[in-house]
Amino acid sequence: MDEDFQQLEAELKRLRPLAPSHEFRARLERTLAPRPRARLLRFSWVALPIAAAVATMLTLAPVPRREKNSAPPQLPAALFKPVAAENVLIASRDEGLVTLADGTPARRTRQSYVDTITWKNSRTKASLKWSVPREEVRVVPVSFQ
């Protein structure tokens, strides 16, 4: 890389990308804010027996052996690195109003996802893909005005 390029690179690096607007950060904050009264039930580990049937492994080179267990594949960190993680919503169902134990009315929704995580070995180009179904049930108290 010649000196002109290095100067230009240095000049480019001095430019600061436009910061996200206050509105955008506020939107993000609202999205990531804790849901105070919502009760979130996760059944991802319940679904693990099904996951075993769905899990897909693609190998282009030999992968170190690992113990069979219900956790994500344990691979040498130096060899495999996660390069992609996707959550695909495959179904969403509004189950309508339910009544909580304390008598509070609530709306229950059920979402089904398939989470897929991909690890890649940059040296051998081997990749490993792990997919697991996940179901979320949200029970959100409602108030009538």
Partner: protein, 183 residues
């Protein structure tokens, strides 16, 4: 549990239940994420949507994975941009992104205290670069990715990535030199 392990500049997100701990990391990396997203989307609003989508998904579900969080979120943003392109244009996302020329007028960079004319000239030259060159340049300079990481993300040979980077710098240098000559 340390969730962001390998980016030296990243404030650690030590507690998975610390609801505000994402803010420090986003304050540091949010502008870079947004700039990269704008290379793959048609407007600032679209870029904000894909950054939000990718970052929220990462924060909620993927931050425990390890690896390079910035690289992982950038991958997610690129995929979200593909999805957006698919939804909006009903065409092959790869073709669409290659043809995408960001057309929103909002600036890409903060206004410097001095040298605003130079900032405008650089940004204008950047916008005129071929999309595939600009993409590599932005990921390298402001996304802080290595050539190897960019090659992997774009599924493009390493040499091609390095060439595009050099072509981009060369084109920028030519444009800026010409602009200097013409005052």
């Amino acid at each position: 549990m340390t969730l962001f392990r390998k980016t030296p500049n990243s404030p650690p997100m030590e507690d998975a239940h610390a609801d505000d701990s994402w803010k420090d990391w986003f304050a540091l990396h949010g502008p870079k994420l947004l700039l990269c997203a704008r290379q793959w989307t048609r407007s600032l609003a679209d870029a904000e949507d894909v950054v939000q989508d990718a970052f929220v998904r990462f924060w909620r579900n993927q931050r425990q994975l390890g690896g390079e969080p910035l690289a992982l979120v950038l991958t997610s943003i690129r995929r979200a941009s593909f999805d957006l392109a698919r939804r909006e244009f009903r065409r092959a996302a790869r073709e669409e992104l290659a043809e995408t020329r960001p057309d929103d007028a909002a600036p890409w960079f903060e206004t410097p205290l001095e040298g605003e004319d130079r900032r405008r000239a650089i940004e204008a030259a950047l916008r005129r670069l071929p999309a595939e060159q600009r993409e590599v340049l932005v990921l390298k300079i402001w996304g802080e990715l290595t050539f190897a990481q960019i090659a992997e993300k774009l599924d493009t040979p390493l040499n091609t990535v390095a060439s595009r980077y050099r072509y981009a710098l060369n084109a920028l240098r030519s444009e800026l030199t010409a602009a200097d000559c013409h005052g």
